[in-house]
Symmetry: C2
Subunit: 350 residues, 2 copies
């Protein structure tokens, strides 16, 4: 494309700061080849508290007109009673993932040279989690009776379909096939969640027959947390459900330098709807507006965005620029803008 | 009691080896004060493959006649098709937890002096997870339709009741009150699992009013995995549901020297049914019968057993003996029996 029509949701807290840097880098990476048009959307906890609105159907229609969405972070003060029960997370973030059919939640993990891990001997860390994004216990299919009484019962239902699991698993195998290690690990809890677990395991077993070059194994979610801290090098491509993917990608971020570096793509592989790219971190209201946030996760999300749009060269240049920046990173404090400027400038030079 | 009537389920793989050492230590700790009677039960994957039996009502009746149960590990070769779908885990381990109403799954985590953590800077690690044991997605309340077809739907239901959550939360506060740090952290995913999350959060808020000395906070399960590797010292008493507790206790074990050291108690606090004590590790069929397994987790489970039975002095002596043994542990290989003998001998001396 010679034009990129991007929807931008800076969001709350540190969201606008990191997005400003991500956009600088995106512009630098695209150069003169691609004309970038951005439309900002005000959605977030702040917008909700001001207007009472989170995200409605007409908003979704507007967003759908774009090639992709870049999101900073959404969410307000966790102690604010008006935001209780994940109203922003569910009404905005999850609503986007569901409405735009982001069934692949792609979360690469790399321990970049020069980055400290909390692990004493991390070894090489380079894997990607292919997390399902539209099913599992995230579907909102719970309920409660006799709320607030001693007879209360509160249920949560994890919904898993052959349709949903197979398309995710197929994407996972395609990702694994594109990587040198050619290894796919299914993560679940098949010894307890037997109905869902059986569907996931059977689907992986069946699709695996079409990918004889890919080594396939299985780990329970509890065992995964052990290997993640004792031998993360054993992972290449992880395929897992929505909730297990949520949990292990935070752990994966933690062992590879923190959520300040963790990027993600909420991807609709069919291209029917725009995909959405966002750092894994939250809005961190405590440090908002202070230029303390690390924009690297947002910038690496731009690399995922470029890759998704077929701008593979530009994507690789952003990743390389981030890697070089991290390797050269000293111990002195650098502001959010300072980091973004440095990375954008290194792209301009090339 | 001047007599302790113990049911022993050595189980599969390394189970019998570690249980032999745990019993040596139990006998040494009890000395002449308490007469120990043990009844061995053959339950496990091996027994199932030989006899077709896992655990029936008459077995449960026999087990109920004992003061407590000591279990090694159950489970066979994971590739054995006859053991698929967690048939032993669910038919034996989970059945015992449910039938004997082990609603508290107590899992202490301590980084003992001299033990290497995979973390570069673990600091002091000393917390306890109070995991719910009889509800959540472990209840077996799932189902599937159109299995094996493109229209398959597989659901798993997490069941949470005011009754079940409150008794666990109350136990959690009692545990927190008994510890110097006096801090309780609720772990859940209240922003997504809103019905169950709300019940857990409201219950903790209400019970907290009765414990003004205890500092209470909340963390999402994903964030917990981050703190577990970046700042485990922030944890004191964690209260959580069955599945989240399963996941974080493996991670907790990993950061504090591995599941070779992780003990657990499946506790029925009312005393209506015998409580069951077991190492967190599995049956490890690959190293079974080779005297390679570390019996420390089983021995620390004996310490939990003694504490539960009111033998607090004996319990403290076992913990201290393990701690001393670990601190003195060199780098040379010691057999399972060697470790058990050393710890038992150090108790005999006192
Ligand atoms: C904010 C929350 C709903 C979200 C999730 O659970 O998916 C977040 O933790 C993430 O990983 O993107
Ligand atoms: C074996 C399995 C069913 C069990 C569980 O999930 O509770 C185990 O992982 C544990 O933590 O004791």
């Amino acid at each position: 494309p010679t034009a990129l029509n991007l929807a931008v949701i800076p969001g709350d807290g540190i969201g606008p700061e990191v997005i400003a840097e991500a956009l600088k880098v995106l512009r630098a990476a695209l150069g003169d080849d691609v004309e970038l048009a951005t439309t900002q959307f005000p959605f977030g906890a702040g917008h909700f508290l001001e207007t009472g609105k989170i995200l409605d159907d007409s908003d979704l229609d507007e967003l759908k007109k774009h090639d992709a969405i870049l999101l900073g972070a959404v969410g307000g003060d966790p102690r604010d009673a008006r935001l209780k029960g994940g109203i922003i997370e569910r009404g905005l973030l999850l609503k986007l993932r569901f409405a735009l059919d982001h069934y692949v939640n792609l979360r690469p993990t790399t321990l970049f040279p020069g980055i400290d891990s909390p692990l004493a001997a991390p070894g090489v860390v380079d894997f990607v989690v292919v997390r399902e994004g539209t099913e599992g216990p995230y579907v909102g299919n719970g309920g409660a009776i006799r709320v607030g009484t001693p007879g209360e019962v509160a249920n949560e239902v994890s919904v898993n379909t052959a349709f949903g699991v197979e398309r995710l698993v197929r994407h996972g195998f395609a990702v694994a096939a594109s990587r040198p290690a050619k290894k796919l690990t299914l993560v679940h809890k098949t010894n307890v969640l037997v109905f869902a677990g059986s569907l996931w395991q059977r689907t992986v077993d069946r699709v695996a027959l079409e990918f004889p070059d890919i080594a396939v194994d299985y780990l329970h979610i509890d065992a995964v947390t052990i290997f993640m801290v004792t031998n993360p090098g054993r992972f290449d491509t992880i395929v897992t459900d929505n909730l297990f993917g949520d949990i292990i990608t935070d752990l994966a971020a933690a062992i590879s330098g923190g959520i300040g570096l963790a990027a993600s793509g909420n991807i609709n592989p069919t291209g029917e709807f725009p995909s959405m790219f966002e750092p894994v971190h939250g809005s961190a209201p405590d440090i908002a507006g202070q230029q303390k946030a690390d924009p690297t996760a947002a910038i690496l999300s731009v690399a995922l965005l470029l890759d998704h749009l077929g701008q593979t060269d530009a994507s690789a240049r952003v990743s390389a620029a981030v890697s070089a920046d991290l390797a050269a990173r000293g111990t002195e404090f650098r502001s959010t803008a300072h980091i973004g400027d440095a990375i954008a400038a290194s792209l301009d030079k090339n």
